[in-house]
């Protein structure tokens, strides 16, 4: 079996085991956490397709998730509820009501289209300037979502999305996202992009059109983010623009970076690890809040611990847990070594 197929097999097995496992245990809370994990997986794997292959850190990812979520909301909120949920909606959109599945694709496409339209000049930048502009892009997307009341109900909570995302749906989308990321990584664009990550000058000298390559990866990442956002919207059913800002960005970047940004395996492992850690810490935090009478709320503890963990990982293992090789390659190498020995 080719190592890349082995990688796909192992990663998909992980997703299926988590999905089926939490279903078999049958505790609703675990079901919720597992669904959340699948949605995060779509987002983190999406971020990996850009960040892992191009080597540029992108902060705008969560903004595209927001675009997907709001697109899906506008398309799926039942028309009789739209009067309440989105009072200022443009008339031609009030009658629209499509199936959530279709809306999910639309969410991804809208995010991808916006990314395609604005990101090209940004892709010419490298290193710090690229990171900074992606950060500014996040702020801009947030500003727009926060103020375009006609489509997003402004900073207020938008409610009324049909609850259609369950564990099987989320897991299937996660499976598709992982496959897409693996295929992209091995595609011509992905390979050239990774070459440019290792040495920009050498790749350009070989004829790689780096801005165009990065642009394609960015669009794919935005598409996956939009899909993930729509998935999340139909899971949580009510949200406000605050949900698509720095806190979530921090969480997603932590997941990817702890696992290892350069590999899809890293994205999956990081998502699982950080989700478990996050839920554990959240539980501790709310337990502390419930027991300490009047001593004030404990807020921010989870983030402090995660930030410390992130700094520790960066110091000890700057590439993350899986810095360069996918799990399939590692297994194939182990096997090859065993064969040569015997």
């Amino acid at each position: 079996m080719k190592p890349s197929h082995l990688t796909a097999l192992v990663l998909l097995a992980v997703i299926v085991i988590i999905g089926v496992g939490s279903h078999l245990i049958g505790i609703r809370l675990y079901d919720r956490i597992a669904t959340n994990l699948m949605i995060s997986l779509v987002l983190v794997v999406g971020l990996q397709t850009f960040m892992g292959n191009s080597g540029l850190l992108s902060f705008a990812h969560i903004g595209f998730m927001g675009l997907g979520a709001y697109t899906s909301a506008v398309l799926t909120i039942p028309s009789q509820m739209k009067g309440m949920a989105l009072p200022d909606l443009y008339p031609f959109l009030t009658a629209v009501e499509v199936s959530p599945l279709l809306a999910m694709v639309a969410g991804g496409l809208v995010a991808a289209a916006v990314a395609a339209a604005i990101a090209y000049p940004l892709m010419r930048l490298s290193d710090a300037a690229a990171v900074i502009t992606s950060f500014a892009l996040l702020v801009v997307l947030y500003t727009v979502m926060n103020n375009w009341s006609a489509l997003t109900n402004g900073p207020r909570t938008l409610f009324g999305l049909p609850r259609t995302t369950d564990l099987p749906t989320a897991a299937s989308v996660a499976v598709l996202a992982v496959i897409a990321a693996l295929v992209f990584k091995e595609s011509r664009t992905g390979k050239l992009l990774r070459a440019s990550r290792e040495d920009e000058v050498a790749a350009a000298a070989l004829g790689a059109n780096i801005p165009a390559l990065r642009w394609r990866a960015f669009i794919l990442a935005a598409f996956l983010a939009g899909v993930g956002g729509s998935l999340w919207g139909h899971f949580i059913t009510s949200f406000s623009p605050k949900a698509f800002y720095l806190k979530e960005t921090f969480l997603i970047v932590t997941m990817l970076v702890v696992g290892g940004a350069n590999t899809v395996t890293g994205a999956v492992v990081g998502t699982v690890l950080i989700t478990v850690a996050y839920e554990g810490l959240r539980g501790t935090e709310s337990m502390l809040n419930a027991t300490s009478f009047g001593a004030g709320q404990v807020i921010g503890l989870t983030e402090i611990v995660l930030a410390l963990a992130m700094i520790a990982v960066m110091i000890l293992k700057p590439g993350g847990i899986f810095p360069s090789r996918e799990i399939g390659d590692i297994l194939a190498r182990l096997r090859a070594r065993k064969e040569t020995r015997s």
């Binding site: 502009t133 702020v139 801009v140 720095l246 970076v257 940004a261 807020i299 402090i304 110091i315």
Partner: protein
């Protein structure tokens, strides 16, 4: 006439503050090629120091000096916590540690102080206004202009005429060469962080002087402003940062005066659109810095 004067004062005071913010960021970037995401939190630290010393009955100027000192201390602390351990590794690693460190400080403020805005003691002079040729101007704007002129001149002098400044500029243009010629790397970097912290402290006091309160997320807007100003001006050039700051202030103020109320909410989006246009024209920013050398 009154309008012109008001416009000019607005641009200069906002631009002065923006230029100082950008300068604090570029000083670090110039030497290390690394962006300090925790820069905004230095402003937060200055603000909370003012808040925490507020009840002590000290004269305001002492509190301000304490706030500056704390910003400097935290600037150096940023170097030790987030930069030094990973400096030699990948650029992304450092970006992430400084981002994590920024989150750490913010959430520490959430946890140990409060998520709600806290009032900061300010002297009378920050709320007074004067009339200049028919234009009503808050005194704090004039203070900002004065402070930025003094500090920009001081930084220019420091960079051009003193041994420290020359060592810093040498480190910025070719770090390895500077080390070989006997520039102590760690000391220079720590001092750059101290200077950056000092500028952040001054900006913090002026910035909080406009708002009057401090919240854990207060550093975000100044950070963003500094980011955009440095990208416009050219990431590696100190004059570029200053020009970028004033240009950004000019764009912002013009939009403030010309956009209708409905569109004003989207001001950040418009500003950023203009930045994209500038970058299309000049991807390296308006002013190119010294030729790039190896970092660390």
């Amino acid at each position: 006439m009154a309008f012109t004067i008001q416009f000019v004062i607005d641009v200069l005071s906002l631009g002065g503050a923006y230029a100082l913010m950008a300068l604090g960021l570029v000083i670090i970037y110039g030497i290390l090629r690394l962006v300090n995401f925790a820069y905004g939190e230095l402003i937060m630290v200055a603000g909370y120091t003012l808040y925490l010393t507020g009840g002590s009955g000290l004269p305001w100027i002492v509190m301000a000096v304490l706030a500056l000192a704390m910003a400097v201390v935290f600037g150096i602390f940023t170097d030790y916590a987030a930069f030094r351990p990973v400096r030699a590794k990948s650029v992304t690693a450092v970006l992430i540690t400084s981002f994590a460190f920024s989150n750490l400080l913010q959430n520490a403020a959430l946890l140990f102080i409060s998520p709600r805005p806290r009032y900061v003691p300010l002297p009378e002079i920050f709320s007074q206004t004067v009339v200049i040729a028919g234009a009503i101007t808050p005194v704090r704007n004039l203070l900002t202009i004065a402070a930025s002129i003094v500090l920009l001149a001081a930084v220019a002098f420091l960079m051009r005429k003193t041994t420290l400044g020359i060592a810093m500029r040498a480190a910025a243009s070719n770090f390895t060469m500077a080390r070989m010629l006997g520039v102590p790397a760690n000391l220079i970097i720590s001092l750059a962080f101290a200077l950056s912290g000092f500028l952040a402290g001054v900006v913090g006091i002026l910035w909080i002087g406009r708002i009057g309160t401090v919240v854990p997320g207060i550093g975000l807007e100044p950070l963003l402003v500094a980011f955009i100003a440095t990208v416009i001006g050219g990431m590696r050039s100190l004059p570029g940062a200053v020009i970028g700051g004033f240009l950004l202030a000019f764009i912002d103020t013009t939009l403030n005066y010309t956009l209708s109320q409905d569109l004003l909410k989207f001001r950040d989006a418009f500003t950023f659109g203009l930045v994209i246009l500038i970058l299309l024209w000049r991807p390296d920013g308006l002013i190119k810095g010294p030729a790039s050398g190896q970092r660390t």
